[in-house]
């Protein structure tokens, strides 16, 4: 970048050939710098993967089989898509990524039903909520009363059905839970988890296709597939509950996507990639089994995902931290999403521009931009002082960790939601006001639905940031080793990054190059899937607008 010579008086084209060479070098240098940054991190990632998988411990024949059955067909297909059919390529990568992301989500849902709300608790909650909703609807039909009476009735119904007054009025929810006979766990899930999902699917398909029949078929198929698990689950070697979660969380989105690609008729050949991959894996497994090749001695295996921490590296696992991360993310999402979106709506739709309040709003805007740059460790101190020292909560419990991280990602959620809301064309708002809608009705029915994809993208990215945060958790006293998964939001927990840090402190080679690498890989895969989903969502809706 030798541009120090005084060029103010010089004619720009005067140095002809030389400047061409200089320009080329400059361009190459800039490209090289970009690639260098990416390459360095790529090298680190390869090292982590090698440490976690230990490819050297496998038979060369095992690798040859994998290459022949899985890698070569996949690469060939990818080359074909790149060269001849980019649209099919997009379909192919979505069709491969979607099942993987959905399986991770299914794992999260499974953890929720296993550790946070048992199927029976969920049943009681859903039934109580339905009763509450029904009671409010009936009241609404019978007495068209003013807002205050409705609010009061709403509060009473909520107390009677869901919350209850401890010691005085048992809630409907706890009454249901204390019933002597409750349906089996999978049956309760079928009724209160699968059926609502099926209703949503049916509604969505009906709207997309504008056909009553298609909606019924889609909804019915969802329930039928889940119910089939009573027979097919044990045959396939999984419990009915697992089957049920897999079919609803993985089967439904994959089915909808495949169906849409097939009926759209665009890029159908992209579906060949996941089919080829799946077939390749099956063939590979059969060949390896019959020929007796030994596979690599991977650190990142099923035991790693389901064990707790152990001093013996081979037996150490990440399960309690995984559960802790899922629970923490639930707290973060519940706390940061409504507040963040609410603040964004206020700033974009309600905030006055002039007067005293206007300057307050300006202050809020500047403040949010600055909060986004406050170091995460300072948020940890805030959490420590606010929730533990002042609020009297116990250090290291899920709710404290979650709320602290929620404060940290709040500015990110607000800024991205503001951008999404700003992107909604003003003409739509004017149209709604012109029809006599109030401000809140406009926000609820016009602005929010259009801005939702953008808001969700920003929120997923922010939650990805939340999953990886370590320093705030250290500050609020999240324990180094937690061997038992937390059972409530007030239980002690560990999270994945916290667990990684305590392994890093152990300073043993087997932990460095085995357990730690496997844990890093798990964390990165989760993050990659979340960020990938967010970016896909963004691209899809950006193109539509």
């Amino acid at each position: 970048m030798a541009t120090t010579d005084d060029s103010a008086g010089a004619w720009f084209g005067s140095d002809g050939q030389v400047s061409q060479l200089r320009g080329l070098l400059f361009k190459a240098g800039c490209l090289g710098a970009t690639l260098l940054a990416l390459f360095l991190v790529f090298v680190f990632l390869v090292y982590v993967a090698v440490d976690a998988i230990e490819p050297g411990t496998a038979d060369p024949a095992w690798w040859a089989t994998v290459a022949a059955t899985v890698a070569v067909p996949a690469v060939a297909l990818a080359a074909y898509y790149y060269r001849y059919d980019p649209r099919a390529g997009e379909v192919a990568y979505t069709a491969v990524g979607l099942p993987i992301a959905a399986t991770l989500l299914a794992g999260g849902v499974g953890i929720v039903f296993r550790h946070i709300v048992s199927p029976h608790e969920w049943l009681a909650l859903v039934v109580a909520a339905l009763v509450a909703y029904g009671a409010l609807e009936v009241h609404d039909r019978v007495r068209r009363a003013g807002a205050f009476e409705r609010a009061a009735i709403g509060a009473i119904v909520l107390v009677v059905t869901i919350v209850g007054l401890p010691g005085l009025v048992p809630s409907l929810r706890s009454l249901i839970l204390s019933l002597p006979v409750l349906p089996m766990a999978p049956l309760s899930l079928l009724g209160t988890f699968v059926v609502p999902v099926a209703l949503a699917v049916g509604w969505y398909v009906r709207r997309e296709r504008e056909s009553e029949r298609a909606g019924l078929i889609a909804g019915g198929a969802t329930v039928a597939a889940a119910a089939l698990g009573a027979v097919a689950g044990p045959v396939a070697g999984v419990s009915w509950t697992t089957w049920l979660i897999l079919t609803t969380v993985v089967g439904v989105p994959v089915g909808l996507y495949v169906e849409r690609v097939l009926s759209g008729g665009e890029g159908v050949s992209g579906l060949a990639l996941p089919v080829a991959l799946a077939a390749g894996v099956v063939v590979c497994a059969v060949v390896v089994e019959t020929a007796g090749f030994t596979g690599p001695d991977v650190w990142l295996d099923w035991e790693f995902l389901t064990n707790a921490h152990n001093r013996t590296p081979r037996e150490a696992g990440i399960y309690p931290a995984l559960v802790g991360s899922v629970m923490m993310i639930i707290v973060v999402a519940l706390a940061a999403f409504p507040v963040g979106v609410g603040a964004a709506i206020y700033l974009e739709e309600y905030a006055p521009t002039g007067g005293l309040l206007g300057s307050f709003v300006e202050l809020v805007e500047i403040n949010i931009a600055n909060l986004a740059g406050v170091p995460s460790v300072v948020y940890g101190l805030l959490g420590l002082a606010l929730f533990i020292n002042a609020g009297g909560l116990q250090p290291g419990i899920v709710i404290v960790g979650g709320l602290t991280v929620a404060l940290l990602i709040l500015p990110i959620v607000i800024v991205s939601a503001q951008e999404a809301i700003r992107a909604v064309p003003d003409s739509q708002r004017q149209a709604a006001y012109g029809m006599g809608a109030t401000r809140w009705q406009t926000v609820r029915t016009v602005v929010l639905p259009r801005a939702m994809p953008g808001i969700l993208t920003g929120t997923i990215l922010a939650l990805g940031r939340a999953i990886g945060e370590t320093a705030p958790l250290l500050m609020v006293g999240v324990a180094a080793v937690v061997r038992i998964s937390p059972t409530s939001f007030f239980g002690l927990f560990s999270a994945m990054p916290r667990q990684l840090y305590s392994w890093a402190q152990l300073a043993k080679p087997d932990f460095y190059h085995g357990v730690l690498a496997a844990g890093v890989l798990v964390l990165l895969i989760v993050l990659l899937m979340m960020n990938g989903t967010a970016i896909l969502l963004r691209n899809k809706y950006q193109r539509r607008d």
Binding site: F12, G13, Q20, G23, F26, K27, L31, A33, T34, A37, L40, V41, F44, R144, G146, A147, F148, R150, P338, V339, G342, A343, I345, Y346, V361, V364, I366, N367, I368, A369, N370, L371, G373, V374, P375, S376, V377, V378, L381, L382, L386, A390, L410, A437, R439, G468, E469, T470, A471, L474, M475, P497, L500, Y501, A504, Y512, V520, L524, L528, I535
Partner: protein, 313 residues
């Protein structure tokens, strides 16, 4: 939750509707006001506990002390060793991130084809999404042994490898904000340059970069403030022995372990200091210092960035 989107509800009294509107307005306002509360909360909690700390330790001794030994009994608390280590990390990471990040921004904004950009930008975004504890792990487990292999006598925990990793971490920040600034330069300026017979190189370095210099500087300041506040990388890879910067051997400081302000805070909270001792409260004093530094840097960066936005809109 009804299916009909906008209810043409003319029978209900307007009072209810107005009350509802007011309720939502108030709720949303509270959400926005909460963010101010967060800032006030940070300042207040840090200030209260820092005052508690300065009741036990002389502020002058704290800000000028050149030794930091954290223990329950008679700790020696002087912030300068921590400040110097933070400075070292910031300077080295800036040396890594600023040239690479700026060059990447120039490439993405001026040279890259659409296809290239559609690959490189998400890749850089992914770089920005990697958790810092993972970067710390990279530094400790891979980078430090490499540095040892190429003959730098680094110890197991050292500031050099931590700083390089912090630099790599903040590259996406420099490149994406600088690129936004460069893309905001109107094309008419570039075309005027080409019209005078300038080459692409000359347009990039003599027109685009000077025109977007305020945005580029704002990205530098923001990235440096991020480096100052970075915790996990230096905690994992930098070690936990506070050393005062020794100007007679500048490189020795890099090759040995050191403790930054953030690392000292983590150490104060993770070692079993009984609450109420000066050592425990010291982290609030450090936190306040850290917050003051980063907050003013962010404020400065936003001011500078606001200038270039005004210039071209």
């Amino acid at each position: 939750m009804s299916d009909t989107p906008i209810e043409a509800d003319l029978t209900r009294s307007a009072n209810g509707r107005i009350a509802k509107e007011r309720l939502y307005h108030g709720l949303l306002f509270c959400c926005a006001a909460l963010t101010v509360f967060v800032t006030v909360g940070i300042v207040a909690t840090l200030a209260i506990d820092a005052l508690e700390f300065f009741g036990r330790v002389d502020p002058y001794a704290f800000f000028t002390g050149t030794e930091w030994v954290l223990r329950s009994e008679n700790p020696i608390l002087g912030i300068l060793p921590l400040l110097s280590a933070t400075l070292v990390v910031t300077v080295v990471s800036a040396l890594v991130a600023i040239p690479i990040g700026t060059a990447a921004a120039v490439y993405l904004s001026e040279y890259a084809s659409d296809r290239m950009r559609s690959v490189l930008k998400p890749a850089l975004e992914i770089l920005a999404g990697i958790p810092t504890v993972v970067y710390g792990f990279f530094a400790l487990v891979y980078l430090t042994p490499w540095l040892q292999q190429i003959g730098l006598g680094v110890s197991l925990f050292n500031l050099l490898s931590a700083s390089i990793m912090v630099g790599i971490m903040i590259i996406p920040m420099v490149s994406s904000i600088s690129e936004d600034a460069m893309s905001a330069v109107p094309d008419s300026l570039r075309q005027a340059g080409y019209g005078l017979g300038a080459t692409k190189f000359e347009v990039s370095t003599k027109i685009v970069i000077p025109a977007s210099i305020s945005g580029i500087f704002s990205s530098y300041i923001l990235a440096l403030s991020r480096a100052i506040g970075e915790t996990m990388i230096v905690v994992v890879a930098g070690g936990s022995r506070a050393r005062m910067f020794d100007p007679s051997q500048p490189f020795a400081n890099l090759l040995n372990s050191g403790q930054t302000m953030t690392a000292a805070m983590v150490q104060a909270v993770t070692t079993d200091l009984s609450g109420g001792t000066a050592g425990y409260y010291s982290m609030f004093a450090i936190g306040l210092t850290l917050f003051a530094i980063t907050f003013s840097m962010n404020l400065l960066s936003n001011r500078i960035a606001a200038r270039y936005r005004e210039e071209y809109q």
